[in-house]
């Protein structure tokens, strides 16, 4: 085992022992007769990068959308940062949501706004007392973090796919979330840009000590970013472990993801 791998293994152990930031118990979600999530039990630890793999339509996106509240779950218990979501009032839920960042597959940039305005928008919404200077400084810092300082006055439509993803990431990070949810962060990108995005995910984890859930089909991204991997099949967890463990899984179906 190399020194880097040993270091990573030790880091993984630390993450496992850290406090739980997201806890799901017997979570279920159906759309009509289609049971998308069946009895999901999951704990995500502080500072951990959890990658969820699975075929399309197995409920990966629904799972993270349940965490952020874009999709209502039917049954079960969901605790975020120690608070039972079902027992929170609307205002408290809004406050809780501020601590969760979500990077959408498409970037979900506001087309009618410039890059600067895209970053200013969440700041204005969440802090009405913020000064122009503070806002400028936060916007510049966020763009610098993702290497987009030169694009500050451009329109989102003038950005490439990779730049849009990075801008989406900057817009999410500007609020300093404690939990990051990534919905297929490298889909549709070339291998070099994908690697850059994976690098950014790691950088964010190290810099801000965020806990992340990463939905991906990109095995390289999973290899680079995951402390732990879960393989989802038909709405349940088919396998769980580190990259190296699952790569050598006895289950041929699980192993097929890594080939």
């Amino acid at each position: 085992m190399t020194a880097a791998a040993t270091h990573r293994k030790a880091e993984d152990e630390n993450k496992k022992n850290g406090s739980v930031v997201v806890k799901m118990e017997h979570l279920k979600k159906s759309f009509g007769n289609n049971r998308v999530l069946r009895n999901i039990d999951l704990a995500i630890h502080k500072g951990e990068n959890l990658v969820i793999l699975g075929k399309s339509g197995t409920g990966k996106s629904v799972l993270i959308k349940c965490i952020v509240g874009l999709v209502d779950y039917d049954e079960g218990k969901l605790e975020i940062l120690g608070e039972d979501v079902a027992e929170l009032k609307e205002k408290a839920l809004g406050e809780l949501r501020k601590k969760i960042g979500f990077l959408f597959q498409s970037g979900a940039l506001y087309d009618s706004m410039s890059v600067r305005e895209n970053l200013e928008f969440p700041l204005r919404r969440q802090s009405h007392s913020i000064s122009k200077e503070q806002m400028d400084s936060l916007v510049k810092e966020a763009l610098q973090n993702v290497g987009l300082s030169d694009a500050i006055d451009r329109a989102p439509s003038a950005l490439s796919g990779g730049m849009r993803k990075r801008l989406g990431l900057a817009r999410t990070l500007i609020l300093k979330p404690e939990i990051m949810l990534y919905d297929e962060p490298t889909t549709g990108l070339d291998p070099i840009t994908s690697k850059e995005i994976s690098g950014l995910i790691l950088e964010i984890q190290n810099k801000y000590d965020t806990s992340s859930v990463i939905i991906t089909h990109d095995i390289e991204c999973a290899k680079l970013t995951a402390n732990r991997i879960i393989v989802l099949k038909d709405g349940t967890f088919a396998a769980e472990g580190t990259y190296s463990e699952l790569e050598k899984s006895a289950d041929a179906w699980v192993r097929s993801f890594f080939e």
Partner: protein, 280 residues
């Protein structure tokens, strides 16, 4: 599970719709089912608007921005349409009035027609085409590209920010545009009257003011608020709950115009009946 981070009433309806597909319903039942689902959905949407419009925080900045986009940017189109309607109405009415030797009534007749009915309705239809479809397409496009979801997760209430501001803006802007359309239409009528003779501006305006009274102006003005509300609400509803995909954007824009135009005629019919009832 009742208390979750976000509520999306359409989710429930979609789920119910999916369930209904699996049961053995006749086509007629299915059409009725869909119709009542749509009616219940738009009713919930309207009730949510009234709930959100009263609840702080208020989005004044976005309201001003939307009023500028919806109102000010519609001025040229409304002006051209109003002028042409006034001009054409005058030119077309002249021969009929001439047969009865009543050409002098032309300014008054055109003014009553324009102010009571044609001005507000034509302006509302133009508004439905431009603004209703614009709101429908914009919100549908935001829905497709997950921008509405992005707003939700960043702690913004997208209904309040996107829907309430647009519906309020169209409710407030259409009456102003209709008054403007009436004024420009009367200018067009003045030009039309002078194409076949000479009538001074003073005489023209005095004939207009003699023929119009409060009972012509007030109901016509009030109904434009309802037109604006219906157009904004329908456009927002169609866009906000559009289907995912580019096809959904086209459908949202198209159905927003069709449904909003239909609503204009229905509201107009009700307004005319109510006005007649009160005036008699």
């Amino acid at each position: 599970m009742e208390n979750v981070l976000l509520q999306h009433p359409e989710n429930e309806i979609q789920e119910t719709a999916e369930l209904s597909e699996s049961t053995s319903e006749s086509p007629a039942d299915s059409v009725f089912h869909k119709f009542f689902l749509e009616v219940s959905s738009i009713t919930m949407f309207t009730l949510r608007f009234f709930k959100e419009v009263l609840k702080p925080p208020y989005e004044f900045k976005e309201l001003m921005n939307q009023s500028f986009q919806i109102g000010y940017k519609s001025l040229p189109l409304v002006a051209i349409t109003g002028f042409i309607i006034g001009l054409v109405l005058t030119i077309q009415s002249r021969p009929t009035l001439a047969k009865f030797g009543a050409v002098s009534w032309l300014p008054g007749m055109v003014a009553v027609s324009l102010v009571r009915e044609i001005g507000p309705v034509i302006c509302a239809l133009i508004f439905a085409g431009k603004v209703g479809s614009g709101i429908g397409a914009e919100l549908a496009s935001m829905n497709v590209t997950e921008q509405i979801d992005a707003m939700q997760v960043s702690g913004t209430n997208p209904f309040k920010y996107l829907v309430v501001t647009r519906v309020l803006s169209s409710t407030l802007m259409l009456p102003l545009l209709a008054v403007f359309a009436d004024a420009v239409g009367l200018l067009g009528s003045f030009v039309g009257v002078n194409l076949n003779g000479h009538v001074s501006a003073f005489l023209f305006s005095s004939q207009i003011f003699q023929s119009l009274d409060f009972r012509d102006l007030f109901p016509a003005f009030i109904k434009t608020f309802f037109f604006g509300f219906a157009i904004g609400l329908v456009g927002s509803y169609k866009g906000y709950y559009s289907n995912k995909g580019t096809e959904g954007v086209g459908k949202a824009a198209n159905s927003a115009v069709v449904f909003a135009s239909l609503m204009v005629f229905i509201i107009d019919m009700i307004a005319v009946q109510m006005t007649s009832l009160f005036q008699n």
